[in-house]
């Protein structure tokens, strides 16, 4: 028994030593590998394009890159919890994360050269800028997106005024049972994003701008007087059945594709669906109601994290984002990979996609989604105000719904 036990102990010790040896050899190999490595978080769709670009950049600079696939929706929050040794130096991100990331101190300011700045529409840079005291740029925009009104030109004429849109949509709805007015998605949880053109068209805004040019979370425009003056129109639309909050995303899409809706509010993520549908369509901005019915603009781009400094590769990471991702070639490649319009103006001129070009036009004058972290308090309430006032029978008056929403938002922001 004693002998057995000794052998066993020996075996355990031996195995442990082997493992230790293997571990240290592996780490020695890792540390002797040449050149610093930049780690990039990109989503599945754009991983290949990002890896190609990053490798081209890296071989020119003598560095190496490691592109990791990370679920796009999780990048923002995971950056706050990831261990420093595993953290990325560069991330892909949406512009409306900027406030939260900067308020958490997770991203580094980026300084673009004057020549580079000229290549970007001012709003795209503004979308990635944040600061309560000093406004700084935290990301280089790569692509832009917005929703538009898709019109089935076989069924109806492309409207030029909102009155025309309203009468055509209602006439179409009356033609057959099951037909819809305007297919714009809401559902139980509401969808303030897809409703924004109607919101802005009635005079609504989310946050005002203060003297320093920053979004002011204490100035909430969800129930501003101009908007309230026009809010009765929502009650009218609800009564006519022009829009209906019970319509969710998939129902809206199916209705349009099956020809049960002549108007559909959606964005470029459905451009392949549209192209494959075989329908004849045009994409326009929702016609002006009382004010231009502009959509929200979404900008995506690349950001340098604070971990780049921790890892001692900040200059390289900054070089990749500020000097390379900003170039027209890189932006064109990314735009092709993701089916979105490039942010870089020169790349945009070379980008030929008829559907995306129409979406681009539908975004004229649009408003970037507010990028301050307080926006998190707005989405649900604004969406629910629409849900409550456009749910058909039993809907509450729009003016009171939106007033309640404004109060709730103010309470939450505190």
């Amino acid at each position: 028994m004693r002998a057995k036990r000794t052998t066993a102990l020996l075996a355990v010790v031996l195995a442990a030593m082997c493992a230790a040896l293997a571990g240290s050899v592996k780490s020695a190999v890792a540390s002797s590998k040449a050149g610093p490595t930049i780690t990039i978080w990109a989503d599945q769709d754009r991983k290949t394009a990002v890896a190609q670009l990053a490798n081209a950049w890296a071989s020119a600079r003598g560095a190496t890159v490691n592109v990791l696939v990370h679920d796009f929706g999780k990048i923002r929050d995971d950056l706050g919890t990831v261990a420093a040794s595993e953290a990325p130096d560069v991330i892909m991100g949406a512009h409306d994360w900027t406030g939260q990331l900067a308020a958490n101190g997770l991203v580094q300011p980026i300084i673009l050269s004057a020549a580079t700045k000229k290549n970007f529409p001012a709003y795209t840079l503004n979308a990635f800028s944040y600061g309560t005291a000093v406004k700084k740029l935290y990301g280089v925009p790569t692509q832009i997106e917005n929703i538009g009104l898709i019109v089935n030109t076989k069924l109806v004429k492309v409207p030029t005024t909102f009155a025309q849109l309203e009468s055509e949509a209602l006439a179409f709805k009356k033609k057959k049972a099951g037909n819809l007015g305007i297919a714009v998605q809401q559902g139980t949880n509401g969808d303030a994003y897809h409703m924004y053109p109607f919101f802005s068209g009635l005079g609504g805004y989310i946050f005002g701008v203060n003297k320093a040019g920053n979004l002011d979370p204490s100035d909430i425009g969800v129930a501003n007087p101009k908007f309230l003056k026009n809010a009765a129109l929502i009650d009218k639309w609800n009564k006519e059945g022009l829009i209906n909050s019970k319509l969710d995303g998939s129902t809206a899409q199916n209705a349009f594709l099956k020809g049960q809706a002549a108007f559909w509010v959606t964005g470029p993520w459905n451009s392949d669906t549209l192209k494959q549908s075989g329908l004849k369509f045009a994409i326009i901005q929702v016609p002006k109601i009382a004010y231009p019915s502009v959509p929200f603009l979404g900008v995506q781009g690349f950001l340098v994290t604070k971990y780049a400094a921790t890892h001692g590769v900040e200059s390289l990471a900054q070089d990749f984002v500020a000097n390379y991702i900003s170039t027209a070639d890189a932006q064109g490649a990314l735009a092709n990979a993701s089916g979105r319009y490039p942010a870089n103006v020169a790349a945009g001129k070379q980008f030929k996609d008829p559907v995306l070009a129409q979406f681009g036009k539908a975004g004229a004058g649009g408003v970037p989604m507010p990028n301050i972290p307080q926006m998190g308090s707005v989405w649900t309430d604004l969406g629910q105000a629409w849900v409550r006032s456009t749910k058909g029978a039993g809907a509450s008056k729009a003016a009171s719904s939106f007033k309640a929403a404004a109060r709730a938002i103010a309470d939450k922001i505190g």
């Binding site: 442990a16 240290s24 610093p36 019970k246 058909g392």
Partner: protein, 534 residues
């Protein structure tokens, strides 16, 4: 299962054929057992060494100590003699309980006493560094340069700079800018490639000096200085805030406003706040706001009542129906028994995430199948009270199979002699069920009822995927009609203030934990009473 038949004669008396468990034990105590033991321990030790290596690399000394103690303990224990036998069985369970139950609870408690939230996630020193970095701004007419790091003849680190606007070239040191003749500097596609009298740093030599080069500041005028931005560019920047390390305050240079540590993880001046802040202890403030903040405390009681109603009705409805089905399908000689049983189990076989989303579509009041088929016009999801009904019904649908299975098992465990005896004594079927079957069944099932209650009390998935807590109520910013405590906590955590307030959410979680624990403890003590009755 009986041991009497197993221990038959015919086998050598030295090795009596024992029951399954002792046989298994005897199988594993020989050489096979030793080999398995050594293999498992080796794996555990190898894993521990790898983990220890990683922990040491990251300077996680407490974690390392815990790891070493645990590993050595495991090794000693499993080579120990008979005296520690019970521990051999207890230890793995205890270890898993500690790592997956106790540690998260301790962590939640720890977080609930901090201000961990958007803007307060890093350490104070990190925050100060970031504030300083964020405060840099290009001065009026600030210049931008193409840059290369280089060493001069003495080997000192300098910056070779070329003004991007007019092409003038300089050498920058910590003393300031010195003009260089344009002809001395050569540039290529990637910036400055050579400078006469200087050796341009390239490749790994350049990359390894990253933090040193970035710290190099070339003063220009006033507070402004040129500092490297990328490996090939630099910019002239001016601080807008000055940090006084001794006083621990920031001073705004333009107007002299002083930002002080407000004790809650931020530098503030009046209502102005410098971002980012840092994570720090705030004592009982989070618990205080549950009591005092009307936004949080207002709907708390109402949500608690609804959570309770939801959990209780789901458990009792599904138990009642599950039991009924179990009895009905337990009838001997029933044809297609297996088919019926499989049909009842279908809701369980489909992933809940999927079926919840499907139900959301089915219940849509204008476009959903339910209303269309039944020619109804019920606002299943858009009216507060109906949405509550929907939540209960769908959760009920998802839970019935569980209680069907459990009841079927428990029914088969009730000895037939008992029911037969009752029948002989002249009891009717209902009487037998009430007086004999149900009490015996409850002994077995009531712990499961309590567990199911605790599960449904925190059934985030069902609520969140079906209604998202909605529809909202007028004058109630956060909680919707169907929000249960846990989904309400989630909303509190992500949808207030600047976005995420983990500290407050942790405090609410602890309260929920206490509530569920109390309710379960009381119910369990009741169950004991039930057992004693028998």
């Amino acid at each position: 299962m009986s041991t009497t038949t197993a221990s038959s004669a015919g086998l050598p008396p030295k090795m009596p054929r024992a029951a399954f468990t002792p046989r298994l034990i005897s199988l594993f105590s020989g050489t096979v057992g030793l080999v398995v033991k050594v293999a498992l321990l080796s794996i555990s030790n190898a894993f521990a060494i790898w983990a220890g290596y990683v922990l040491a690399q990251r300077h996680q000394w407490i974690g390392l100590i815990v790891l070493v103690v645990a590993t050595v303990g495991i090794d000693l224990l499993y080579f120990g003699g008979r005296r520690v036998l019970p521990l051999k069985f207890l230890l793995p369970g205890v270890l898993f309980m500690v790592s997956f139950q106790i540690v998260p609870i301790l962590y939640t408690i720890d977080v609930s006493f901090t201000n961990y939230s958007t803007g307060h996630i890093s350490s104070k020193s990190d925050a100060i560094r970031q504030i300083q970095l964020n405060s840099l701004q290009p001065p009026a007419n600030g210049k931008q340069y193409t840059m290369a790091a280089a060493r001069d003849a003495q080997g000192k680190l300098v910056l070779i700079l070329q003004d991007q606007a007019n092409g003038e070239t300089f050498v920058g040191t910590t003393k300031g800018l010195q003009p260089l003749p344009k002809s001395a500097v050569k540039t290529g596609a990637l910036g400055i490639t050579a400078a006469k009298g200087y050796r341009i740093l390239k490749g790994n030599e350049l990359f390894s000096l990253d933090s040193t080069i970035r710290a190099l500041k070339v003063p220009t005028q006033g507070q402004s200085a040129i500092s490297p931005q990328t490996i090939s560019t630099a910019a002239e920047l001016e601080p807008t805030l000055r940090y006084d390390a001794k006083a621990g305050t920031f001073t705004r240079i333009t107007d002299g406003a002083v930002f002080r540590d407000n004790g809650k993880g931020s530098f503030t001046h009046g209502n102005q706040e410098l971002e980012p802040g840092w994570k720090t202890g705030v004592g009982l403030r989070n618990f205080g706001s549950i009591l005092n903040d009307p936004l949080v405390s207002g709907p708390f009681f109402r949500i608690f009542v609804w959570t309770f109603v939801f959990a209780v009705s789901v458990v009792f409805l599904s138990f009642a129906v599950g039991l009924f089905l179990a009895i009905a399908l337990n009838k001997k000689g029933l044809r297609f028994q297996r088919i019926y049983r499989s049909l009842v189990l279908i809701p369980w076989a489909v992933p809940g995430f999927l079926s919840l989303l499907v139900w959301q579509g089915l219940l849509n009041d204008d476009f959903g199948v339910v209303n269309r088929l039944l020619h109804l016009n019920i606002p299943w999801l858009f009216d507060g009270n109906w949405a509550k009904v929907s939540c209960i019904l769908v959760s009920f649908w998802l839970t019935v199979p569980y209680f069907f299975l459990v009841s079927m098992g428990a029914l088969q465990a009730i000895p037939e002699e008992l029911t037969e005896a009752a029948r002989v004594d002249g009891g009717g079927p209902f009487q037998i069920f009430r007086k004999v079957t149900l009490p015996l069944l409850l002994v077995a099932v009531s712990p499961l009822l309590i567990a199911s209650f605790a599960f449904n009390f925190n059934n985030f998935n069902n609520i969140f995927l079906l209604t998202g807590g909605g529809p909202t109520q007028a004058n109630q910013p956060i909680a919707g009609s169907t929000d249960i405590l846990i989904s309400y906590t989630y909303k509190l955590a992500i949808a207030t203030g600047k976005g995420q307030d983990y500290g407050l959410a942790s405090a609410v979680s602890i309260i929920i934990f206490v509530l569920v624990a109390t309710i379960s403890a009381v119910s369990f003590s009741r169950t004991k009473a039930l057992e004693n009755l028998n």
